[in-house]
Symmetry: C2
């Protein structure tokens, strides 16, 4: 399948991120109106709240709210029907262009909001190169992968209240820190603040008991870019034995557009060979990974951006479907709007690593930017930007960017009570 | 302060759990009407939705919904005002008895629901005897307490979707399990299913940046009994290095009545002596623990209950206020309805331990019930019940019970999709 042409001309360039093949869903506001649901097409957003009110699309009123949750909860048949209807309305030969065109809004004039109300946020650890790199740094090459790692997609529960949309500034956190050679811990701003390049999978359909891998795949509505901001020095002191907590609770940024599982179907690819056979309940069920190019840039304040890593979502060891299946084994109820972080996605080479921790090997091997500056971890004023693209024949499925600028820590964190 | 007398006679007995001094808040349904807010007094519930509609209390409509979240978000001044108004309405000498009495409902005919919409659930590990017991079993007496334990109230994020109200049956979970001597993991029902006797603190007022210990205390609306059901065999295999996940995701039960911080004020007590000084941001700020007797009974199916442990909430090393202060150090936003589990509350002796893991020392020292049966972990059909009481001079502040019966694991967890 090649490019599907739209009468919105800006959607038809081979490198345009939002062609008719994509149709990603977001929540936007423009011209003083409240946040509402929209779909990106070329350099425009189609106002779906207005379209639903005008009777151009039907979703039981689910598109007039300020999140996609109500629509996601309706399930696969409705997801398929809306996508088909939007494809027809926006196709080059659409007879309804005249009715639709008044509801297009320029992306350049719109503010994007979180596309979902995040119910709960779970962060996995399913990138093998990342787990191997981190394990090697902390436990040595012989014990790099934890014993359970090849058997289950291990994870911890993250903090949903800290998920923010791309573009939100990130305040460098304070925390309790104790270095290996410190006699006592101290309360100080994090000096090892980092990114984690991840994808986020969004649960559309809820569940109340264990679900199979195949069922789990059909519960996933779509995908976003995700940056799990991480304070490595806070993490090092707090994480044993209960896992990461405040080190990961400052913020997690996601890209504003949900690229649907349907749009990504042409980019499905096979999981890796299994060194150890997976138990039946986690077994691979067809091509459940996705071929999506990922990269990160770092721009010091007022300076141009340097690309610091390039990798691909197909480096995952476990698919989002396997993660969701594991998540339900205990009977854990899953809800519409649950967000599953993939875990940091690193590739095999140094230039493919998804965190500064790995890129600079714990601070020992500084990274040189295009500007000549070096970095071990994030410095105040740095802007970190994740991008993603699935590359089809003559078209691109883009995600929009996932960006954030790190502000200096407050001199006194208790003097000021707002973010 | 002694017993405050009410014209609801059943509230005036010294051992009655819901005297006028208590006034705990819950959500109930009765006589086919939908769930709504109520306050317990003696053996009755005062229907606060009806009272608000009748103009007897004013809370901006917050009492007519099916949770306490809207009211909790209004803050301390409103909390104080409602308590004062209810105290006046229900006092022995109230002139408004005639107007209020029609809105009393018998507790025996009511169904209790979750009193809050749980925003997120965090489980701490702040009981020193518990942490010492578990650490001794897993790492030996020399390394029982993790190095960070005396410096921060460590915690992991739990799963809010799995929080259920007392009385909900608990289905024994399946999970991936690998014993120390097993060559490979297997997928099987948990054979080491356990309770954790905890208290839960409920965040009423939200926050968006670091808050002090004193500020944190004023954000806490009230307290419930909490049983964090735990699959020890699943936990043993999954928890390194990211902490507990599916082992704690089957269910967490809470008691139906929120006992307010105001009702517990007379029972505040001092924290323990600090072996290692706390850093300034976590320092004790007055008497922030509570003297509340706690116990657990176990009843095998169709048989009488045996008390298996007695302890007290004053065994905590960190207060809920210190836990909440730590939770916000990173800037983590806290929301109305966040639930903070205390961690398992064990006392110094065997008879004071808050989990079967500790009571039976990992299964090595079976417990003999009053019926002569023995237990190492929970068996199918067992009913576990937590109770709590703060004992004043001539009155008692009760919590209502937190109970659950464990049902057998499904023969095939994938054959059936409901809890």
């Amino acid at each position: 399948m090649g490019l599907m042409k739209s009468w919105v001309r800006s959607a038809n360039a081979a490198a345009a991120p939002f062609p008719l093949n994509n149709l990603p869903y977001g929540v936007f506001s423009a011209a003083g109106a409240p946040p509402r649901c929209g779909v990106a097409i070329g350099d425009r957003i189609l106002d779906l709240a207005a379209c639903e009110r005008a009777g151009l699309v039907r979703a039981g009123g689910a598109l007039t709210g300020d999140s996609w949750n109500a629509f996601m909860a309706q399930g696969m048949a409705e997801w398929t029907a809306l996508r088909a209807r939007l494809t027809a309305l926006l196709a080059e030969d659409s007879a309804e262009r005249g009715a639709v065109e008044p509801f297009l809004v320029a992306q350049s004039g719109a503010v994007m909001h979180l596309p979902i109300r995040v119910a709960e946020y779970t962060d996995f650890y399913s990138g093998r190169h990342h787990a191997t790199n981190v394990g090697t740094m902390f436990r040595g090459a012989e014990n790099a992968l934890p014993p359970n790692w090849l058997h289950i997609p291990i994870a911890y529960n993250g903090r949903a209240s800290s998920v923010v949309v791309s573009g939100t500034d990130i305040r460098r956190p304070w925390g309790q820190i104790k270095g290996r050679d410190d006699a006592q811990p101290r309360f100080a701003p994090s000096a090892r603040f980092d990114i984690e390049l991840e994808m986020g999978a969004i649960v559309g359909m809820p569940s109340t008991g264990p679900i199979t891998v195949a069922e789990a795949d059909a519960h996933l509505f779509g995908y976003v870019l995700l940056n799990d901001w991480s304070a490595r020095d806070i993490q090092g002191w707090e994480y044993q034995p209960l896992g990461p907590f405040q080190a990961k609770a400052t913020a997690t940024s996601i890209s504003p557009w949900i690229v649907t599982a349907a749009a990504l179907a042409p980019f499905r690819c096979d999981p890796p060979a299994r060194e150890v056979a997976l138990l039946d309940h986690l077994k691979d069920d067809g091509p459940m990974l996705f071929d999506i190019d990922l990269s990160v840039t770092l721009a010091p304040k007022g300076q141009p951006a340097s690309t610091i890593t390039r990798t691909n979502y197909n480096e995952m060891y476990y698919s989002a479907a396997q993660q969701l299946a594991h998540h339900t084994t205990s009977g854990c109820p899953m809800r519409t709007g649950d967000l599953l972080g993939s875990g940091t996605i690193s590739g095999p080479e140094r230039g493919n690593r998804g965190s500064l921790l790995e890129l600079c090997w714990g601070g020992k091997e500084p990274l040189t930017l295009d500007t000549g500056e070096t970095r071990r971890f994030i410095e105040d004023g740095d802007t970190l930007t994740l991008t993603g693209a699935a590359r089809g024949s003559g078209y691109t499925i883009g995600f929009g960017e996932c960006t954030g600028t790190v502000l200096p820590a407050h001199p006194d964190p208790y003097a000021r009570k707002t973010r």
